[in-house]
Amino acid sequence: MSTATDTIHHDEHDDHHHHIPKGIKRWLFTTNHKDIGSLYLWFSFIMFLTGGAMAMVIRAELFQPGLQIVDPNFFNQMTTVHGLIMVFGAVMPAFTGLANWLIPMMIGAPDMALPRMNNWSFWILPFAFLILLSSLFLEGGGPAFGWTFYAPLSTTYSSDSTALFVFSVHIMGISSIMGAINVIVTIWNMRAPGMTWMKMPMFVWTWLITAFLLIAVMPVLAGVVTMVLTDKYFGTSFFNAAGGGDPVMFQHIFWFFGHPEVYIMILPAFGIISHIIPTFARKPLFGYASMVYATASIALLSFIVWAHHMFTTGMPVAAEMFFMFATMLISVPTGVKVFNWVATMWRGSMTFEIPMLFAIAFVVLFTIGGLSGLMLAITPVDFQYHDTYFVVAHFHYVLVTGAVFSIMAAAYYWLPKWTGVMYDNTLAKWHFWASLVSVNVLFFPMHFVGLAGMPRRIPDYALQFADFNKWISIGGFAFGLSQLIFLALLIKACRKQGEPASDQVWDGAEGLEWEIPSPAPYHTFETPPVIK
């Protein structure tokens, strides 16, 4: 089929087959994994800034006690859409973008296995977010029930635009599922000869496991939003007690999706860090096999811990004990990973280039987030922490200084390979240090106000929280502004302004992607390399 079309083109236009099409059509119709990877990454960065702007609105309102800038309903829309955009628009597409760019180059494949589906899974995403964002401008406002859309907030008490929220989540889900299927098929069928399972790079392993989590739980999310849709518009009673339903059941189904979802957002990060630390410690990764098994154990355990989000719903004590211990069990494989990263650095010839700085920051700060997670897992104390800023501090440490820092580390690490030029090191240093300091000013005091009892998702607060909130907001604005440095750096690198990068880029780097020229040619590994 494609051969026939190509022949016709050759006859009519004397087309240069190997040249990249120019203009908007190149991006609209592209099936090239590198183009689609770039599209995903830029899209995710735009969403990161959009969701970040909403966080700025939240922090501006919380700068002082009292209501001053936005009305509470709009504040709730901001917290809701900030969460949805950061989860589904920033972190997940960024990882899919990295998967597109890197997996074929890492396993020695010419492209993703299903290139046309790849194009589609990207191009439906902007429409999903257009629908979601447009709902903010409708009468009654957009979704204001929190990104977790608990019933009956999302059914009985939600605005008329809830259908738009539901459909946008459906489209995001379809996009993620298609992306995940593509990753699995690529890794399963297209590894270069000699690349056995236990020779696969860690990023490929973590993404393979993530992709299985995605196809297991994204359909459950699709199911639960459909139930919300029919409850709200078609008179069903899945979550309506008056009709025989149960609102607590919403939380069970949602978190059956939601807990594996948090590992979807962190497992690829583990993979990235497992590439960067060995490179700059100039030692092979300590305990490769245990890393693989730890990743798989985390993924399996993620299915049996969902109710730790629901300790205060009135579960029997036996169930609370089960979910508490199962949750704590996850810290064992996670601890193995942190141990292995530290052991990789032990007595290595370490240098501290920007990707390494982000990776080390990841290890330290993600571990802080992990420890507050362990505190939250303890059922009796969770009754105090539940729905306070302590929870907000916890998941921002694992998602911002965890997932987002790993994505930035990955961007710095592979950017010279993608663009062919080294990034501007001065800007990069400013970006790293400004982000590191401001992110801790932003999120660390949240632990204190949370323990003191400040509830989350509230536009106003008691006077005793005023000083900490002022600092949190200042940290927030500084962290937001720091990302503009990153934007400037990325634009500079994409315009190829900078020192030319060598093929190897980093002297300790290992893997197939470093054996091809920088910048990576449009088509790579058309004949598969042989892995010894």
Binding site: V185, G223, D246
Partner: protein, 192 residues
Amino acid sequence: MMNQSTSNNPNTKLVTKLVVIVFGMFTFGFALVPLYDVFCDITGINGKTNETAVVYEATDIDRSRLVTIDFITKTTTGMPWAFEAKTKQIQVHPGELNQVEFYVRNPAFRDIVGQAIPSVSPGTAALYLNKTECFCFNNQPLLAGAEATMPMQFYVDPQIPEDVTYFTVQYTLYDVSAAAQKVAEAQAEASE
């Protein structure tokens, strides 16, 4: 040259399997609804009680112990009825048949259909509360300004564990006028 036929393409086979998993998990999401109900029915952990009347069989009345039951009431947002338990607390012997009454008044200028939903706390006690007659089994229509007394008959299963000596039954009242109207219209259409 790529000359593989579609059926032999390893990608097609794998994609088919993965798509089956996706649809399987979508179905599983909905299957969780009946599974949840069955699970809660068996364990009683969500505090739901029997939704249709049980027949009281003169079982052995355990006169050796007493169980204390609180009755509390609540109306949801938008439900204007006054609703209260005439008996706030009762002490019963497991096995004996008891009756309590609830008072409702519709202060609104419109007719309203109400639906009461019971919930037992701690949830595990729900398994042992058997209602032989309850206003919660049906919709309760009340004309504008009208008032009524609604009975509820029950017995506590003598199998109730020794350590459960005290539980609370909460009735939450919902305004289901809109839904009841739809049902009535549908029935009227069907009979025509």
